[in-house]
């Protein structure tokens, strides 16, 4: 099999050693994502307000990809970039 990168090796070591008994799962993280996105948009500290969600996002690539997409769309809605993109397509 092909070899993996040092970054990935350290990533998996990080995932192993950061494991916690009471970790939030994907369903729990999914339910908190809208709140977290608005907390970040309001300039508040997510680690202080939703530490378990932030910890899950650091471990779970699927949830992180979805959260980053949500944040990007919400920011684009606020800045008008969503409408600009829609008009560009017309």
């Amino acid at each position: 099999m092909e070899s993996i990168s040092l970054e990935k090796l350290l990533g998996i070591a990080g995932a192993i050693f950061s494991v916690h008994e009471d970790e939030l799962d994907c369903e729990g993280c999914d339910a908190e994502m809208p709140h977290l996105a608005e907390i970040i948009e309001a300039g508040e500290d997510p680690k202080k307000l939703l530490p378990a969600v932030v910890a899950h996002l650091e471990i779970c690539h699927d949830c992180r990809e979805e959260f980053e997409a949500l944040l990007a769309v919400i920011r684009a809605e606020h800045s008008g970039a969503v409408l600009d993109a829609a008009h560009g397509a017309e």
């Binding site: 099999m1 092909e2 070899s3 993996i4 990168s5 040092l6 990935k8 090796l9 350290l10 990533g11 998996i12 070591a13 990080g14 995932a15 192993i16 050693f17 950061s18 494991v19 970790e23 799962d25 994907c26 369903e27 999914d30 339910a31 994502m33 809208p34 709140h35 996105a37 608005e38 779970c60 690539h61 699927d62 990809e65 979805e66 997409a69 949500l70 990007a72 769309v73 919400i74 684009a76 809605e77 970039a81 969503v82 409408l83 993109a85 829609a86 560009g88 397509a89």
Partner: protein, 220 residues
């Protein structure tokens, strides 16, 4: 597009006694989700740059229709701790990303990854070209990698090992691996959580900590 409060969205979307009001709210929601998804596909996804605007518009329309149905089906789970539109956008983003993952990994086979009985990528070559180190340190690094490999091979069940290799080492999305394993993403996350707990206990028993690993492999 009408501006609505959370209560108005919920009220309008469920007004079966006022079909006109309900259909206007549905159309507004779908349009809003479609625009958000189109923005995401056209501006945020580097793997979509070869697609035409027409193709992206069609994808956004399909995903928005599906997302609208899912929003309606799951209205009861909206907790009200965010804007309704933020919550609905989260649903839409997940629909879009799930479909893109499915398409990207449509030929992925867990059996191909584990079929030859050799599920572990070669960890021993994983850093050789990235950072040359002295022979003593190199031997120590090989020893730690050997212990990590051994722990993955011996402490985990076959199912845990296959999931860990696919998700943790090969970077395959949880959602895709869960589908191939006939389970769901949340159950797979829990399976991996148990695997990580076992590996942590095994490695700590061998005197290996995260601090030690980071120090041993730190880039200078």
């Amino acid at each position: 597009m009408a501006q609505r409060s959370n209560e108005q969205w919920l009220d309008d979307l469920t007004r079966e006694d006022d079909p006109l009001r309900q259909s206007e709210a549905l159309a507004d929601l779908t349009r809003r989700l479609q625009r958000g998804i189109f923005y995401y596909l056209s501006r945020e996804r580097s793997d979509m740059t070869s697609r035409s605007y027409g193709e992206l518009e069609q994808m956004a329309e399909d995903f928005a229709q599906e997302a609208t149905l899912r929003v309606l089906k799951n209205l009861h789970s909206f907790r009200g701790d965010s804007l309704f539109t933020t919550w609905a956008t989260k649903v839409a983003v997940r629909v879009a990303i799930s479909e893109l993952r499915r398409a990207r990994y449509k030929d992925f086979s867990l059996e191909a990854l584990t079929g030859d009985g050799e599920v572990m990528p070669d960890l021993s070559d994983s850093f050789g070209t990235e950072r040359p180190v002295g022979p003593e340190r190199s031997a120590e690094q090989q020893d730690v990698i050997g212990k990590i490999e051994q722990a993955i091979q011996e402490a985990l069940t076959e199912r845990q090992r296959a999931a860990l290799v696919a998700v943790g080492l090969q970077g395959v999305p949880l959602e895709v691996v869960a589908e191939r394993m006939d389970t769901n993403r949340n159950a797979l996350y829990k399976l991996l959580h148990d695997a990580r707990s076992k590996l942590k206990a095994t490695l700590e028993h061998d005197g290996i900590s995260m601090e030690y690993v980071l120090k041993l492999f730190e880039r200078s």
